[in-house]
């Protein structure tokens, strides 16, 4: 009966976290590449 609320909560938790993790690693890789280019 309450499955929708439970799955929505887990989705609302792990989707933003996944986006934050992916964007943090993407930015880190980009800066590393720029540092390598500038050497």
């Amino acid at each position: 009966m309450y499955d929708t609320y439970i799955y929505a909560s887990y989705g609302a938790t792990f989707l933003p976290l996944a986006i934050l993790i992916a964007s943090s690693f993407a930015q880190w890789r980009k800066v590393k590449a720029e540092i390598a280019d500038s050497e």
């Binding site: 009966m1 309450y2 439970i6 909560s9 938790t13 933003p16 934050l20 590393k32 540092i35």
Partner: protein, 247 residues
């Protein structure tokens, strides 16, 4: 103890030395965070139904640790800002800036999952009670802190202004924590922090604590990754300035 902390702090005040330590810690910290998260989720989905809340009690295993991390994240930013402003530790601003999006994300998660828990349990998505409102204010303080870093171009001025906001905004942390004791709220009072006699049965308490430690490890893994990125970004900025001055 304080002397040991001072020694560690001084040792890693050098960004190059910090980067060497961070490179060694990076993979083990991520592995620990993901393993704890997997185990915590496994335990969370094994708990029995609560006699009052039924299956929706499973929302607690993401909502409560996210709320803990929202407060912990802001306290981390506060202490890092104090370290930077008063003790002039070179990594204080870096640590505070790196932690801000992580803490803001956990605050948003706590608000959204709280709303998704409130609807079936209280019959409403939102009420303007002291706990929910102060948590929303915390999200705005996080966003304000992030906005200052984006808005002010000169890094030293941005760091000082953001640190001042972080210190002033810390007043909201005890308000969030004790709002359920100071005012009449629809939100329930603390169930876990009464360590002598927690209101939760062990079947619920242990998975909740595991998820709490998992979120804490995830907070540090994300903050460490973002600190490494910030230090490289500063290095790149200095290098570009030198190139421009040389040209």
């Amino acid at each position: 103890m304080l002397k040991a902390l001072e020694n560690i702090s001084a040792l890693y005040a050098n960004p190059t030395r910090f980067m060497q330590l961070a490179a060694r810690l990076h993979a083990p910290l991520w592995a620990l965070a993901l393993a704890l998260l997997a185990y915590g989720l496994f335990r969370a989905f094994q708990v029995p139904e609560d006699y009052q809340q039924g299956e929706t009690v499973k929302i607690m295993f993401v909502h409560v640790p996210a709320a803990w991390m929202a407060l912990f994240g802001y306290s981390f930013i506060f202490f890092a800002s104090v370290t930077a402003l008063i003790f002039r530790h070179p990594l204080g601003h870096v640590a505070a800036r790196a932690a801000a999006p992580v803490g803001a994300t956990f605050t948003l998660i706590a608000l959204v999952t709280g709303s998704l828990w409130g609807q079936p349990m209280w019959g409403t998505w939102w009420v303007w009670d002291a706990r929910l409102t102060s948590m929303l204010v915390l999200l705005f303080v996080y966003l304000g802190y992030i906005a200052i870093w984006q808005a002010i171009e000169e890094p030293t001025r941005a760091a000082r202004t953001a640190a001042l906001l972080a210190i002033v905004g810390f007043i909201n942390v005890p308000i969030v924590k004790f709002s359920v004791d100071w005012w009449n709220t629809l939100h329930q009072p603390a169930s876990v922090s009464r360590l002598a006699r927690p209101a939760l049965h062990a079947d619920f308490l242990y998975p909740l604590l595991i998820m709490g430690v998992a979120f804490l490890a995830l907070f540090f893994a994300l903050t460490l990754t973002r600190m490494q990125m910030e230090i490289l970004r500063q290095k790149l900025r200095v290098r570009r300035m030198r190139t421009n001055q040389g040209a």
